[in-house]
Subunit: 233 residues, 2 copies
């Protein structure tokens, strides 16, 4: 890996170097599918929850976490997304289920199909670079969670199916590590960089996947819809 | 560059590969300086402006652009940053000057020192990967702007000086391309990826640089403080 290390350090004179990583336009293996529409993928982190809880069921939303979720739902409605949302996915963990239900209610559109998914439960997607001392799951955890979260990425994040005629909005309510990994993978950035990103509770992260497979991020961790005294990490 | 191309495609099975790019903890050449404080760097994109203008002076803020700037200033005040801001920098382009002045006024703290900078004027930091057809500056533009914007990065984005005792907040009002390039460089992501990020007018992007040189992003293009009908790209 010696050459690559040199290339990394070279970013210091980025203005004059070769692109380090070519964009793979067939990253989702759908380049020949003739997609017509754009998929907007709205990734929501759950609200603040009871950190003292042991086990998932006790890790329910705090009162502040519920308020964050409600306000996030109101923001999505204000953005006009209630009519455009074609799919609504929730992680099966308690805090994501509660957050998702509160958001869904605010959208006031019972026709949006809902899916619960175990694939997007919180986990350890890949060893972060640089590592941190305070968070150090064992190799087995990365081994199991990594493949599962990558499976989730391939399942949920891709360009439109060819039969999709109109632009769509998918809302996915899940977890910080999952969202950060999805963002790195979707933008074709090194996945190990995921821990350099941080996301507030109830924040909105918006990916846009064009018919030609190009991906851009419209915002990461947008929490401006929450009053300053309701912000938590 | 063959090996690297293979590595890029390998992200498809990210869970089991070596880190692609080691974090350079001496990226700002200040690793031995014994910094004590954290620098919060708030990057603000200017408001909507008169696209029909020829030349910088005619590219002034629209009425909506002014409102965006005022609301962004109010948000920074709400976040408690008016008291914490130690430095306020504006690009010398008309739209950034106007935006910066409107924000500064909202902070209601005349003791914050102000700096105007030519280094952070809009430009073409580095050829984007993937390229786009609709934006294609000539090589000379990249050659000139690239080194200048990299100079700006090294000047403004770094860990605290050793004499800095308390955490600080720097507000930098500038431009989309400059902010996107700064984010890629600060997070040690490939700089050519900058065009995969997008930022709304008046949006807030927050970098945090710790004493040990670690950098994280708290939000990218946060515009939730703007009503939905005031959002523009």
């Amino acid at each position: 890996y010696r050459w690559f290390l040199i290339r990394c350090l070279d970013t210091a004179s980025a203005a004059s170097v070769e692109p380090s990583c070519k964009w793979d336009s067939d990253w989702d293996k759908r380049a020949n599918d003739k997609a017509k529409a754009t998929r907007n993928i709205i990734l929501i982190r759950h609200g603040q929850y009871n950190l003292a809880g042991s086990g998932d069921k006790e890790r329910y939303l705090t009162e502040l976490g519920k308020e964050q979720a409600i306000r996030t739902g109101i923001r999505l409605k204000e953005l006009g997304l209630a009519k455009l949302t074609t799919h609504f996915v929730k992680s099966t963990m308690t805090r994501a289920q509660q957050t998702g239900d509160l958001i869904y209610k605010q959208l006031e559109n019972d026709e949006i199909p809902v899916e619960d998914s175990d694939l997007i439960r919180e986990g350890a997607p890949v060893e972060p670079e640089p590592p941190i001392q305070s968070w150090n799951p064992d190799p087995k955890t990365f081994f199991l969670d990594g493949a599962r979260i990558e499976t989730a990425f391939r399942h949920f994040i891709h360009r439109a199916n060819p039969e999709q005629e109109f632009d769509s909005t998918e809302v996915i309510v899940c977890h910080g590590n999952v969202i950060r990994y999805f963002v790195c993978r979707a933008l074709q950035l090194p996945p190990e960089a995921w821990l350099r990103l941080s996301l507030r509770h109830g924040s909105i992260t918006w990916l846009s996947v064009r018919p030609n497979g190009r991906v851009s991020i419209k915002c990461l961790g947008d929490s401006g819809h929450l009053p300053a005294d309701k912000l938590t990490f």
